[in-house]
């Protein structure tokens, strides 16, 4: 009996639940609609033809470089703003600023709940809401990325700040440091490396999200892909995808290099 309970409530139980959920969804899904469009086969042919004949003409390369640069601008300004928001908010969400237990618990739960709510909405839904409220300007796009990314960063940074080793903090307090001084001299220096490498990982994600801001009609790689697809120029679509991959891979490489040099 005990064995059965252990199996059901432990890891095997999770595997069983996930497999069942997956199989159920496979069963329910409307596979009869999973067929090529009437024009689908020729569509696949077009895509493959584009793959074999990528458009590396000079005029289009200029377009692609411009689109990539636009995506970089959106992604970078968004993650920068997200960091600026996240650091002070993470101080609040870690609850380390307040000495009184009641104040600390209230601030932590209120701030964290707010962050969870903000995070639960996808950045493109944010983009769309902001675009409706404030117009379809680049500012809406940047804010749309910065708000949810800021919330994610703040949550994770707060966890990092909470998880630093305690003895050095106690020693700081015994030499008279207030809570905010302990944060500045103890928690923050101990956690900044983790914060940096996580922030960089999010930078990569943010660039990827910035690429699809075409969702609200903003320029960038996604926008150009849409334009080229409407013209059935799949040679151009592939070139744009190569640019996107190159961008993500190089930021990934930069990040791993940075992480390694931080670990030394």
């Amino acid at each position: 009996m005990n064995v059965v309970r252990k199996v059901i409530t432990g890891r095997p139980g999770v595997v069983i639940i996930l497999t069942t959920a997956f199989l159920t969804s496979v069963y329910i899904a409307d596979w009869n609609r999973a067929i090529p469009r009437s024009s689908g086969l020729s569509g696949i042919y077009e895509i493959l033809k584009g793959f074999s004949q990528p458009d590396f003409s000079q005029e289009f390369l200029i377009v692609a470089v411009q689109a990539t640069w636009t995506t970089i601008t959106f992604g970078t300004s968004a993650i920068f703003l997200a960091l600026v928001i996240a650091i002070p908010v993470s101080f609040l969400a870690s609850g380390t600023l307040f000495r009184s237990f009641v104040v600390r618990i209230t601030s932590v739960s209120v701030v964290r709940m707010f962050l969870a709510l903000v995070r639960s909405i996808h950045e493109l839904i944010w983009a769309w809401i902001l675009a409706i409220l404030f117009g379809f300007s680049p500012m809406s796009g940047v804010l749309a990325l910065a708000i949810p990314y800021g919330a994610i960063l703040a949550r994770v940074f707060a966890d990092f700040l909470n998880d630093v080793p305690q003895p050095p903090l106690r020693a700081l307090q015994s030499s008279g440091a207030s809570n905010i001084q302990t944060l500045l001299y103890g928690r923050f220096p101990s956690a900044y490396k983790d914060m940096l490498s996580y922030g960089f990982y999010r930078f990569e994600c943010c660039l990827r999200s910035a690429a699809v801001l075409s969702f609200i009609g903003l320029q960038g790689i996604g926008y150009q892909i849409e334009v080229s697809m409407q013209d059935l120029q799949f040679g151009q679509v592939w070139v744009l995808i190569y640019f996107l991959i190159a961008l993500i891979v190089s930021v990934d490489w930069w990040g791993s290099k940075l992480r390694r040099s931080l670990a030394e």
């Binding site: 999973a34 970078t76 300004s77 920068f80 639960s120 404030f134 117009g135 680049p138 995808i241 040099s261």
Partner: protein, 280 residues
């Protein structure tokens, strides 16, 4: 000494990042019409719309969507479809990642511990890694555009787009888990006469499975958020309806749909957190 200190990687990265951020912000500020932004663009239009909805309710013409049972019922049904897409997507991604990760790990592929014989194992290793990178780098939305171009929109199309992107992420994460494993355990299994398939089954799998489970659950939380957006393009579930309500300026319906969306996301977060604790 000082030279290497000043031009260290972290410092250079910091400078480069600051330079990029400043340039980017200059461009964004230049390109946005801030006056229009802060005067609230179409904010007034949205408010007018709500005033209109409110008035028509007062005069008894019609109830706003968030007061009608029927629109809630429909939104919950659409949420269920969205949940379905997300489970199908993450399941497909996890399943294929599970099949490939052993051949996609450098240490298994290069030391002849992959289920596939050398030199094919090296070839397949490079192919898989390239595949992980390509699928991971391209966002779900662009996959969705490409898929919808060739395939009927619907649950399967949406799930495929999400699955392709997440397959790249999960595959890479799992391969990295194997590469960071204690290599001695694998070698000692090998020297005790285990075949390569047995090495994967007994030496690698037990270590990777719990990690894979956690990653799958984490990614599921991300996927449920994205499913709605992919639904805009793949014409499925909450996303499709959001798009329709939006283009008809039915902001009362939009509120109902967004509420269901947030509730769905929070529910998935809770379930995933519970399952992760269970698997730990």
């Amino acid at each position: 000494m000082m030279y290497t200190k000043i031009f260290s990687w972290p410092f250079c990265s910091f400078l480069l990042f600051c330079f990029l951020a400043l340039t980017s912000w200059t461009i964004v500020l230049k390109d946005s019409d801030l006056l229009e932004f802060f005067s609230g663009g179409s904010l007034n239009g949205v408010l007018d719309n709500f005033r209109h909805i409110y008035n028509s309710q007062i005069s008894g013409q019609s109830d706003p969507a968030f007061l009608s049972f029927e629109s809630w019922y429909r939104a919950v049904f659409l949420s269920f479809r969205t949940l379905l897409v997300s489970i199908l997507a993450i399941g497909l991604a996890g399943f294929v990642a599970l099949l490939t990760f052993a051949s996609g790990s450098r240490n298994l592929a290069m030391e002849g511990n992959s289920p596939i014989r050398r030199p094919f194992s090296s070839l397949i290793f490079y192919l898989l890694r390239a595949l992980y990178t390509v699928t991971r780098s391209v966002p779900e939305l662009i996959w969705a555009m490409l898929i919808v171009f060739t395939m009927q929109a619907g649950i399967v199309a949406g799930a495929l787009a999400l699955a392709i992107h997440n397959f790249g992420i999960l595959g890479r994460l799992c391969s990295e888990v194997v590469e960071n494993m204690d290599q001695r355990a694998i070698r000692s299994l090998r020297s005790s006469g285990a075949s390569s398939a047995q090495v994967v089954l007994y030496g690698v799998f037990p270590d990777v499975l719990p990690q894979l489970l956690t990653y799958i659950l984490y990614r599921w939380e991300v996927v449920i958020r994205t499913t709605v957006v992919v639904g805009f393009i793949a014409a499925e579930g909450l996303g499709r309806q959001l798009r329709l309500s939006m283009s008809w300026f039915h902001y009362d319906e939009v509120i109902v749909l967004l509420t269901c969306y947030v509730a769905l996301v929070i529910m998935v977060d809770i379930v995933s957190g519970f399952l992760r604790k269970m698997a730990a």
